[in-house]
């Protein structure tokens, strides 16, 4: 997002604080004084990861701080989806299953919980996938659906929020 704030001591810190408050992870802060602007304003570009649904709260908090938001690049939003896979996960090469998502470049498995009751029994895992856009998430889930069919795994998807 691109922000505009007063160029005075403590302002930048005040703008960054709400970002951590809402659970955001700041990836980059870029600021430079543009010569054609009044001396007392500062333009800052911030790249951050934000859990889904927190953006509105962050916008409200920034406004309270007197920070003007010039632009929000939605494409930078991170989407998270959790699915459950059931089947012979190890025998069907779980690391390959994960790699099929990771190798896309636009989505990755960020969390994996696993339960293996006995060698011959089916195991269950909960997999959380991150993607940079809703579209990419759909593509990642499509890959997972295809792999699940190939490997005879049962894929349980989340019910999408009602559009």
């Amino acid at each position: 997002m691109k922000l505009e704030m007063k160029d005075s001591p403590g302002q930048l810190v005040a703008a960054l604080k709400p970002m951590s408050e809402v659970g955001g992870n700041i990836i980059a802060v870029i600021h430079q004084r543009e010569p054609d602007l009044d001396d007392d304003t500062l333009n800052v570009q911030i790249v951050l990861e934000l859990p889904e649904g927190r953006l509105e709260r962050l916008v409200a908090l920034l406004k309270e701080q007197g920070v003007h938001i010039q632009r929000i690049g939605e494409e930078r939003l991170l989407y998270k989806r959790t699915v459950i896979l059931i089947g012979h996960l190890m025998h069907t090469d779980l690391s390959d299953t994960v790699d099929q998502i990771d190798s896309t470049g636009f989505a990755e498995v960020c969390e994996l919980a696993m339960s293996m009751p006995a060698v011959h029994e089916r195991s269950t895992s909960r997999i959380t996938i991150k993607a940079v856009s809703k579209h990419d998430m759909e593509a990642a889930l499509a890959i997972l659906r295809r792999v699940s069919i190939q490997k005879s795994l049962l894929l349980i998807e989340p019910l999408e929020e009602i559009a």
Partner: protein, 329 residues
């Protein structure tokens, strides 16, 4: 008085007969048939006596009179067809319903077979003969889904629907989540409670939910889809670990039937839902969320099965017909 012929005297039929006998609804039964016998009386049958016969002998009336005879010959305004669902052929119910419609008799049914397999033909036949074909009881038991779609949400465009339409699966999933039971243990318990059939395939593999989805989709969008158009996954391969892993995230698993025409989605599958999601209902309850252009989301929750509960839906259809078509006396 509205005259009714009742075909089928299982759990639902007994429920309907009992309610008509017990409550002063302006409805009288002039013909009745079970799988073995039939009975006709233009002035109205003695229901209590017939139900007594049924429990004593296993059949209610004259063994020389068949269901087809009652449908063809009895004097009635509306046929109540509540024989068991045959998901493969829809028979003999399709034949029964056609005969009644051709006789210009209204039809109310709880039978999913005919509506899922022959809706277009039966609907056209009813229109041609100027009578009603109503089937509120086929989807979500007592929950007035069809009335809501037809009246309460009249003029709305239905954009999508999501539902918990099979009480047996919902009971099994609820027990697996609450008590950490295995699928097999929960199924056994469901059988003991009378919620599951000896052969649970039809319920646990999502066939029953898919049939209801077909009925809803055809009613709403008139797109003549069939059971084979539904992408279907059951609950029989779920592990207790899956429910526990979902629980760790504040979620649970439910068998969801969903239709989203704009995305070409027609699917029954186990899904992860947050526990406070409106479709996460407990035990044998059913739930249906309709997403519409004007009303946005509407969720209906209620009992999806049971003798009197299903009778509620059938009586609702009969009284609608009485209001709309049959002269009140």
């Amino acid at each position: 008085m509205m005259k009714v012929a009742l075909i089928g005297l299982g759990s639902v039929g007994k429920g309907v007969a009992g309610v008509i006998a017990r409550k002063d609804l302006g409805i009288t039964i002039t013909g009745i048939a079970d799988s073995k016998s039939g009975c006709v009386e233009p002035d109205g049958l003695d229901i209590a006596n017939l139900l007594l016969n049924k429990s004593r002998n296993g059949y209610c009336g004259d063994r020389e009179i068949s269901a087809a005879d009652v449908i063809k010959k009895a004097d009635y305004d509306a046929l109540v067809e509540v024989t068991p669902t045959n998901a493969l052929t829809g028979e003999p119910a399709i034949g029964y319903i056609k005969t009644a419609l051709i006789r210009k008799k209204h039809v109310v049914t709880s039978n999913k077979g005919p509506i899922a397999l022959a809706y277009k033909e039966l609907h056209a036949l009813a229109l041609k003969n100027g009578v009603a074909l109503r089937y509120e009881a086929t989807v979500a038991g007592a929950v007035p889904v069809m009335h809501t779609l037809e009246h309460g949400l009249a003029g709305n465009e239905i954009l999508a629907l999501y539902g918990v339409l099979n009480g047996t699966c919902n009971y099994i999933l609820t027990r697996m989540a609450d008590e950490g039971l295995t699928y097999e243990q929960a199924l056994m318990e469901a059988r003991e409670m009378g919620y599951a059939e000896a052969d649970p395939t039809y319920d646990v593999q999502g066939i029953d939910a898919a049939i209801k989805l077909v009925i809803l989709a055809n009613t709403i969008w008139g797109n003549s889809i069939g059971l084979n158009d539904v992408d279907r996954t059951g609950i029989d391969l779920l592990t207790p670990d899956a429910l526990r892993l979902a629980e760790d995230e504040g979620c649970t698993i439910r068998l969801i039937a969903e239709a989203i025409p704009r995305k070409h989605i027609l699917r029954v599958s186990p899904r992860i839902l947050e526990k406070n999601h409106p479709l996460v209902v407990d035990g044998t309850l059913n739930a249906l969320t309709l997403e519409t252009d004007m009303a946005k989301e509407i969720t209906l929750i209620g009992r999806g099965a049971g003798s009197t509960e299903t009778a509620s839906a059938i009586i609702g259809d009969l009284l609608f017909i009485q209001d709309r078509y049959v002269q009140r006396t």
